[in-house]
């Protein structure tokens, strides 16, 4: 089956927020950004904006009837700046007008008077000054200090990764519609309907039961609409409540780029020690997360970095320290991988440095240290059903690693101005929200009297196919053809207290909740059928809309059964909650079982560098990936391919550039480049592990959204290898993205390390 949304997508008939028909009288809100990164907000001169044609009102912090606060984890983020400004682009006012054009014209006329204070952009500098979002955290396994003396080689280094703009194609946006009796309906492009509901209720000073959040679908999100959707929905609702008219806030691209958070840049120091037989004995890493001006999800992102610091390897002695460093940039936020990629990059950098010191290829060190069952991770969890070894071996066999290696050696010997590189990138990624509380989901399934069924869950469809998977689960459980089941939009009045659709867990959690609800309905209907047919309820099956008893078809259709059940006043609606079992984590001890299971896989990447020009191509990325028993191979393949290309983008061309005053210079699609069709690897193949199994998720599947992203890290290390083939005299450097400028400098700088 195909994703049921796709025919509509190809016809342009799947509506997004900005496509919803506007109610008469709809107004348009545009936020006024802070022009400076840090300062005291002295005055807002609204006079010119207020007399602009079409302007209805300009709202500032003083107009917020409830709490001027939208921080999710930590309440440190005002909706509209008050007293101080903390980043360029921070909303200081909202202009409301009868057209987006009028609102934008007027917004430019708001004079923002700020007494500037010195800004800070470097996370290490912030750490030195103690500017933390939350206290630093540390995970320890064994004792590295005891292990260093026994190591054959100990190396240290620094590794940095840049941020990443989500570039979801649909910009942030919301429409708030006031209703009678003090209700507010908010149509929002959010991954977290309940977070929006809470933010809107808080800002308005209302109870949550008066706010309904409705999410049709998202035009991409990748984490960028997990917490960052709150502001735009709350601003729309604030204006809608104040003016008692529908208000739409939809950002334009340049506003979205400048005002919203992105993937966290990280800087890290590492130290790694190995024995003579290439076993990693000890690893110590300190992660400086650039968190931006407010907490947003930074503490959770850091937590996942800590949990993934050793990637797919067993290391007996580990000390991982992480800090959320407050700076004057827009609050950095969730992005596919959620801190995992940043930590894994450091691990791979440490291995590359060690390989250099030992004079062995990095893959030999990787190979020696892959996770096995029962290995203990720094968080205290023991690995279950590791596929690290299998995927690492299969990728080499299937894609002829040895043959490609010798081809590349020959190529490099024969070519002076072109060099090739090859890397392997194993990935181990934990599935579950690291915040145990969030690992719950609700579902509501109705069967109508004609036999058709509808399903509501807390999952948000953003292209990842979660609704198709859930639909399939319900259809299979009820024995219905998929065409008889309808997925409803995500709505907080049907399913309350939703966790964000994030952490790759959307299908795991919501699919399981839907399964439970459908099973309840099935049991009720089996009982009715058993009575009707005079057989035991347990012997009743439902298949393709027909009822079978004791394995044989009966003169009873699904629709007939439903009709009878209705006449007998059987409840044809079922609600269920799924909570992932066995999860616990003790933050005092920093030990526990934060994940239901892990996803494994390995990618092989081949690149060619043009050493004269400092440019390169990614020739092939070939992966063996563990998808469990895939609920939908076509959807999962698409997730893997898309994740890999996004990961390559993060490692290569996606370069966030801020100037010395904290203004984003890569502030348009002309200056911030994401992979285009030509940037896709010449060959991109994803093979799923055969006979993979997973008893710990719905229908033995595995989560797919995030893990493939990290295969992209292999591109960096393949490039590094090619660069060193040209400049064997130069030590490796670990500073992503690997832009053509960094490549050129490495190839052609006289000596020393890249700055």
């Amino acid at each position: 089956m195909k994703n049921f949304d796709t025919p509509g997508h190809t016809r342009g008939s799947s509506p997004f927020i900005d496509d919803l028909p506007e109610l008469p009288g709809t107004l348009h809100g545009v936020a006024v950004p802070s022009p400076v990164a840090h300062g005291i907000l002295r005055d807002l001169d609204l006079s010119a904006a207020l007399v602009t044609d079409g302007v209805v009102r300009v709202l500032t912090a003083g107009n917020v009837p409830g709490e001027n606060q939208i921080g999710g984890i930590i309440p440190d983020e005002p909706l509209l700046a008050e007293g101080e400004v903390h980043f360029v682009g921070q909303p200081v006012a909202l202009v409301v007008a009868d057209s987006p054009l009028a609102a934008r014209r007027a917004a430019k006329k708001v004079r923002v008077d700020v007494e500037e204070l010195p800004p800070l952009f470097d996370p290490r500098e912030a750490a030195a000054r103690g500017m933390f979002i939350a206290p630093p955290r540390r995970l320890v396994l064994g004792d590295p200090d005891l292990a260093w003396p026994g190591c054959e080689v100990v190396v240290e280094g620094r590794a940095d990764t840049g941020g990443q703009e989500h570039l979801y194609l649909e910009m942030q946006g919301a429409v708030a519609v006031p209703e009678a009796r003090g209700r507010m309906v908010v149509h929002s492009s959010t991954q977290a309907p309940t977070a929006v509901q809470r933010a809107v209720a808080g800002v308005l000073g209302w109870a949550m039961n008066r706010v309904e959040v409705n999410v049709p679908r998202l035009g991409g999100a990748f984490g960028g609409k997990e917490d960052q959707a709150n502001a735009w929905a709350a601003l729309a609702a604030l204006a809608a409540a104040e003016l008692d008219r529908p208000v739409k806030v939809v950002l334009q691209r340049h506003e979205d780029l400048r005002m919203t958070g992105k993937r966290h840049p990280y800087s890290a120091d590492f130290k790694i020690g190995l024995s003579r037989d290439l076993r990693i004995q000890a690893y110590e890493v300190t992660l400086y997360q650039n968190s931006g001006a407010a907490a947003d999800l930074s503490t959770a992102v850091l937590e996942r970095s800590l949990f993934h610091a050793t990637n797919s390897y067993y290391i007996p002695h580990v000390r991982v320290t992480g800090m959320c460093c407050r700076t004057h940039l827009p609050p950095f936020t969730a992005f596919r991988g959620f801190g995992g990629p940043q930590a894994m990059f450091v691990m791979e950098a440490a291995i590359a440095r060690a390989a250099e010191a030992l004079g062995v290829p990095a893959w030999r060190i990787q190979d020696r240290n892959l996770l096995r069952d029962q290995d203990e991770l720094p968080c205290g969890m023991r690995v279950h059903q590791s596929q690290a070894r299998r995927s690492f071996d299969e990728v080499r066999e299937r894609f002829n690693f040895e043959g490609v290696r010798s081809d590349i050696d020959r190529f490099n010997a024969e070519h002076r101005r072109q060099k090739q590189g090859l890397s392997l990138m194993p990935v181990c990624f934990g599935i579950s929200f690291t915040n145990t509380m969030l690992n719950q989901a609700g579902a509501l399934v109705h069967v109508y009297t004609d036999g058709s069924a509808s399903v509501s869950t807390g999952a948000v469809e953003m292209g990842q196919g979660v609704n198709t998977k859930i639909l399939r689960i319900v259809a299979r459980t009820l024995g219905l053809d998929e065409g008889c089941v309808h997925m409803e939009h995500t709505n907080t009045t049907r399913v309350a207290n939703t966790s964000p659709t994030a952490a790759s867990s959307g299908a795991d959690l919501n699919g399981m909740a839907a399964l439970l609800a459908a099973q309840t309905l099935r049991e009720r209907l089996q009982a009715v059928a058993g009575e009707l047919l005079g057989v035991s309820a347990a012997s009743v099956e439902m298949c393709h809309g027909q009822v079978l008893a004791e394995g044989a078809s009966r003169e009873l259709s699904w629709a007939g059964l439903v009709e009878t059940a209705y006449q007998r006043r059987i409840n044809l609606s079922a609600q269920a909650l799924y909570a992932t079992p066995h999860l616990q984590y003790d933050k005092q001890q920093e030990k526990g079982t934060p994940f239901a299971y892990h996803v494994f896989g390995t990618a092989m990447t081949r690149v060619t560098v043009d050493c004269l020009r400092g440019t390169y191509t990614v020739d092939a990325v070939q992966a063996v990936h563990d998808a469990g028993r895939s609920l939908d191979p076509l959807i999962d393949r698409g997730q893997a391919e898309g994740g890999i290309v996004q990961g390559i983008g993060w490692m290569t061309m996606e370069d966030l550039v801020y100037d010395a005053a904290g203004h984003l210079r890569s502030n348009a699609l002309s200056t911030y480049k994401v992979p285009d069709l030509h940037a896709v690897p010449g060959m991109l193949e994803v093979a799923f592990l055969e006979d993979a199994d997973n008893p710990r998720a719905v229908m033995r599947s595995k989560a797919i959204g995030e893990p493939p992203f990290m295969y992209g890290i292999g591109t960096y290390f393949a490039l590094l290898q090619a660069l060193q083939a040209f400049r064997p005299d130069r030590p490796a450097f670990f500073e992503a993205p690997m832009t053509p400028e960094r490549v050129f400098r490495f190839l052609h700088d006289p000596s020393g390390t890249d700055g």
Binding site: K2, N3, D5, T6, P7, H9, T10, R11, G12, S13, P15, F16, D18, H166, L167, Y168, L169, E170, R217, G219, G220, A221, F222, Q252, R253, H254, H415, R416, Q418, G463, Q464, G465, L612, R613, G614, T615, L634, G638, E641, G642, V645, Q646, R665, S666, A668, L669, S670, K673, V674, P675, D676, L677, H678, A679, V680, L684, T739, P740, E741, F744
Partner: protein, 477 residues
């Protein structure tokens, strides 16, 4: 088809066919088509992704009636003023839909080549435009047709599979370009009745452009920089002026009408013969979606220090035909750029044509490095043009962009190469000399130091590519 307003030539409404509906709108000629479609007609299948022509989510087909029927090209509706659609046929995704999915739509569904769906209508229009367009129908061209469209979800791999499927299916069965509409209707790529919508367009006398309007050629840069400036109108859209279009060879010169879209250069046999390899270089410059609108003169007048065409024309020693109230004059491109974004063009003057000598045996090479290899603004670009006479280099023109406030002609380095043989020592000296002519600055595209050294490497690359044996050292690169 319904005629909603009758109109007579000369009134201030804009007349065009939108899908199957005749439209006469009093909307401002400076309003971009995207806003008109979404706000005035609620055709919301056309999406707003960037408003700068870089994502393709707003792609529509623009059909221009001509003697051989209507010729369709994909355009970015976010940068297209309504003035440019007068008397033309605009086809949105809604205008392609019919009862069942089209083969293009079906291929995308079958390959799982849509995830969030926001970019998808743009891809469908792009691929439909490809089947309807001037290119040979094959898988490679199908891919090229999508290069102006950004998808952030799929990683393109499934879209490539879908495009190949279409290339394979239609590769051998379609009539030549210009005669494909009936066959495409038959195959369901176009809806029934598609060809009836444009019946009235060709017979109508086009409205002459308004006097005194702001001049817009392709608009692919002006509408990125300041779209609001054009909203009040009127607009003088140069693509309404046949005299400014076309490519011809005149007295040994290649002559390009100023408002000729760059895609026409790429496809022109004359241009390709006169400038070896230009079709490859133009593909690096911009997507086909942009090449359908971006003009040669626009690239010059925009005066970006990194303008790819400016750099090529500097090396070619092109000459501009300029007209104005004071009459006509000609000006070498090498004298055109005065200072940052300042050119030798007086008020009321207009570039009418760009010419350069069609020198037999011309050797030409263009280099460009950007963060993304294709369809990105260069960190540095450079072009070299020369002839080889008796083993010596003559008519040497070397230019570089991103290294000065203006697109730079490297006069001293070019002069130094004149009459020299293509030998390593000569190239070394040229590379060194070029270093003293370059004055780059730090910006988002790279540091000054990087750009200077990169430019020198790329200048060396010209000679390695043009003289692989004597400069490249022979053998494998």
């Amino acid at each position: 088809m319904q005629n909603i307003h009758s109109t007579s030539p000369g009134d201030s409404t804009i007349h065009f066919v939108l899908n199957r509906q005749v439209v006469d709108t009093p909307a401002s000629p400076g309003m971009v088509l995207l806003d008109f479609l979404r706000r005035e007609h609620r055709l919301v299948g056309t999406k707003e992704g960037c408003r700068e022509g870089d994502c393709g989510a707003c792609t529509v087909l623009l059909g221009e009636p001509g003697p051989d029927g209507v010729r369709y090209r994909t355009v970015a509706s976010c940068l297209l003023p309504l003035a440019a659609v007068a008397d033309r046929h605009v086809v949105t995704i809604e205008g392609l839909n019919h009862a069942t999915l089209t083969p293009v739509q079906q291929a995308i569904v079958d390959e799982g080549a849509t995830q969030c769906g926001f970019c998808t209508p743009g891809f469908v229009v792009a691929l439909t435009g490809f089947l309807l367009g001037d290119e040979e129908v094959c898988a490679e061209q199908a891919l090229a047709a999508m290069e102006g469209n950004i998808c952030r979800c799929t990683g393109y791999v499934s879209l490539v599979r879908a495009a190949r499927r279409l290339g394979d299916r239609f590769g051998s069965g379609l009539p030549p370009p210009g005669q494909r509409i009936p066959a495409l209707m038959e195959a369901g790529v176009l809806p029934p009745g598609f060809d009836e919508a444009t019946g009235g367009l060709g017979e109508r006398v086009p409205v002459p452009p308004p006097a005194g309007g702001m001049i817009v050629a392709g608009g692919t840069d002006l509408f990125v920089q300041d779209p609001e400036k054009f909203l009040p109108g009127p607009l003088r859209s140069l693509d309404r002026e046949p005299g400014l279009h076309g490519i011809r060879v005149e007295g040994g010169d290649v002559c390009i009408g100023a408002a000729t879209p760059t895609e026409d250069l790429l496809q022109s046999a004359e241009v390709r013969a006169a400038v070896p390899g230009i079709e490859h270089y133009l593909r690096l410059v911009s997507s086909r979606l942009m090449r359908h609108r971006a003009t040669v003169a626009g690239n010059l007048v925009n005066a970006s220090p990194i303008g790819d065409l400016s750099i090529m024309l500097l090396a070619l020693d092109a000459v501009l035909d300029i007209s104005g109230e004071a009459g006509r004059r000609t000006l070498p491109v090498r004298s055109f750029f005065k200072a940052y974004k300042d050119v030798d063009l007086r008020p009321g003057e207009l570039i009418e044509a760009i010419r350069w000598a069609s020198t037999p045996g011309r050797m030409f090479h263009f280099e460009k490095v950007s963060k993304r290899r294709y369809l990105d603004i260069a960190s540095v670009n450079t072009a070299l043009s020369l002839t080889l006479e008796g083993g010596l280099m003559r008519r040497v023109g070397l230019s570089a962009g991103g290294v000065a406030p203006v697109p730079l002609f490297l006069a001293e380095t070019s002069a130094g190469l004149e009459g020299q043989p293509p030998e390593p020592a000569v190239v070394d000296e040229a590379v060194t000399r070029a270093g003293s002519e370059l004055a780059p600055i730090d910006d988002v595209r790279g540091s000054a130091d990087y750009k200077r050294r990169l430019a020198q490497s790329l200048i060396r690359a010209h000679f390695i590519e043009l003289f692989p044996e004597s400069i490249g050292g022979g053998g494998s690169p």
